[in-house]
Symmetry: C2
Subunit: 312 residues, 2 copies
């Protein structure tokens, strides 16, 4: 078994236009698979499968390659790249989608190059669950599979979604999606209900309230790092997934997934999500160094740890 | 210096009527000072200063005495006790106040019996900051002072509030109040701005997202315990304050407040808040035992702790 494992990421690559109260960025690199891949690339070899149009800027391709990401599976099709435009509220906790143009992404059919079919870990970012199933059918024997989804598929493609859920190890989703999927407002019960649909592990992402890991009967709470300056939260949940899966790919050896390792993976996810918020698009990752990742991981320990109770 | 210290609690004692989706309680024991006092009484001697009307049920007085709370400062006045009526949303995360009748609480003037004037720790629950100042003027040399407040005083009694803030060690408030007081949506910056108004320590309570302690330049994040059944969150923030201040009264000896002790106090606060949510009013505390408190404290360690990063 080679080590570290490699990670296959399948999802969207997009051009995002983002408005906040203080700034605006036009057609910057975005898309779930971009954030997952780049965040994971700090930990393990990554293979990206996605589609872009013939207008996709070559400098974005160059950046993905610079991060060491295998882009053999990045299809280029005639037409325009997926575009998304959104505006954040002044407190950055709410966003409004102003425009979505699927463009070439509307006809995306993931086709895995031979090397991608033998990856150890797979992350199915937020795409049609029917396509997620097609990806899984093309991978030979994945060791660990994680996935994300969204309200659109939960409400519109429930049957296909439930088939994927039976074949994965980790579902990462946000709290509203967890409530919608389980039809239960209580997050603990919601996560337990989702576990009964298939995945042993459910990660509920809660934005600036952190993330909860439900691992078998165990629960782990990772806080979000309190940042004094949040520039753009776009992609933070995907950066979390990239840090989480990337750390598993880097350190997991074999056998059942250990809770201690999963807890560290949650903090790596929180670490990458916190960096993601510090700048627009993937810009913070362009200068990020491994020692800064290690330093922030340690900051999470300082943020959360405490000693045994002493009742004198 | 006697040990443990005693805690003076000044605030409201009320009769609450609470509606949730699944149940309804009419005129049960409530009020900020009730929740703070009862939660703290598991850790230290408590002296309660508040006012009730001549309709206040004797069984509630008996319960406070049963908890060992000194009620010499509980004034009884002709008239009706403070009443509050509220309804929770189905997910229990939002509540609507249906009715507030201040009754005898409208004319509350805290008068401290001699024993109360010499307490080591003081908690000023959510009352008019002018009254909070009157309380402080009656206490001889308090060692540690904590306080709560609310949007009504932040917006309407800013000058008096700022005078109290200069005389306290701990401000506990919820995140909306922190944003309102600081005029900054970012919680880290908001807490730093509040520290500049006086208190070295600011605790931002965030409901089911936990609580943040800003202690000098340090930050500590305490999660909320994920509960599979939340019955009634009324008073959880006050129970947090009671657990927090009660633990300080029990264990702090002298000298500057140590961050390690404050972290454990935060978890004692979170522990008492989590128990508070498990039943209506103060009912969960009626059967609560110290070994259950210790067990939940340990559960918080299991919920949050993780090992050093290993990048192999």
């Amino acid at each position: 078994m080679s080590h570290p494992h490699d990670l296959l990421v399948v999802g969207s690559v997009a051009l995002d236009s983002v408005e906040t109260v203080s700034a605006f960025r036009e057609e910057v690199l975005g898309g779930s698979a971009s954030f997952v891949s780049v965040a994971a690339s700090f930990f393990c070899p990554v293979r990206l499968v996605a589609v872009v149009g013939d207008d996709f800027p070559p400098e974005h391709v160059a950046y993905l390659e610079e991060r060491g990401i295998d882009i053999e599976g990045l299809q280029r099709q005639a037409g325009r790249t997926f575009r998304w435009r959104g505006r954040y509220s002044s407190d950055l906790n709410h966003r409004t989608t102003l425009d979505t143009q699927l463009n070439v992404f509307a006809g995306f059919r993931p086709e895995l190059p031979p090397a991608c079919r033998r990856t150890g870990l797979v992350f199915l970012a937020n795409i049609d669950p029917t396509l997620q199933l097609e990806v899984l059918s093309q991978v030979e024997r994945p060791l660990i599979v994680g996935m994300d989804t969204m309200n659109f598929w939960i409400e519109g493609s429930r049957a296909a979604l439930e088939r994927v859920l039976q074949r994965i190890d980790f579902l990462l989703l946000n709290e509203e999606e967890a409530r919608l999927l389980s039809q239960d407002h209580n997050l603990s019960r919601a996560a337990r209900a989702i576990q009964r649909l298939g995945p042993t592990n459910v990660v509920v992402k809660r934005g600036d309230a952190g993330a909860l890991l439900f691992h078998g009967e165990q629960v782990f709470a990772a806080p979000a790092m309190p940042l004094s300056e949040v520039v753009d939260p776009t992609g933070a949940g995907d950066a979390f997934a990239g840090g989480f899966m990337g750390y598993l790919a880097r350190t997991w050896t074999e056998g059942p997934l250990d809770g201690r390792l999963l807890r560290r993976a949650m903090i790596c996810g929180s670490t990458m999500a916190s960096f993601c918020c510090e700048d627009f698009s993937l810009d913070r990752f362009r200068t990020l160094q491994m020692d800064q990742i290690e330093e922030r991981f340690s900051a999470f320990r300082h943020l959360t740890h405490f000693e045994d109770l002493t009742i004198t």
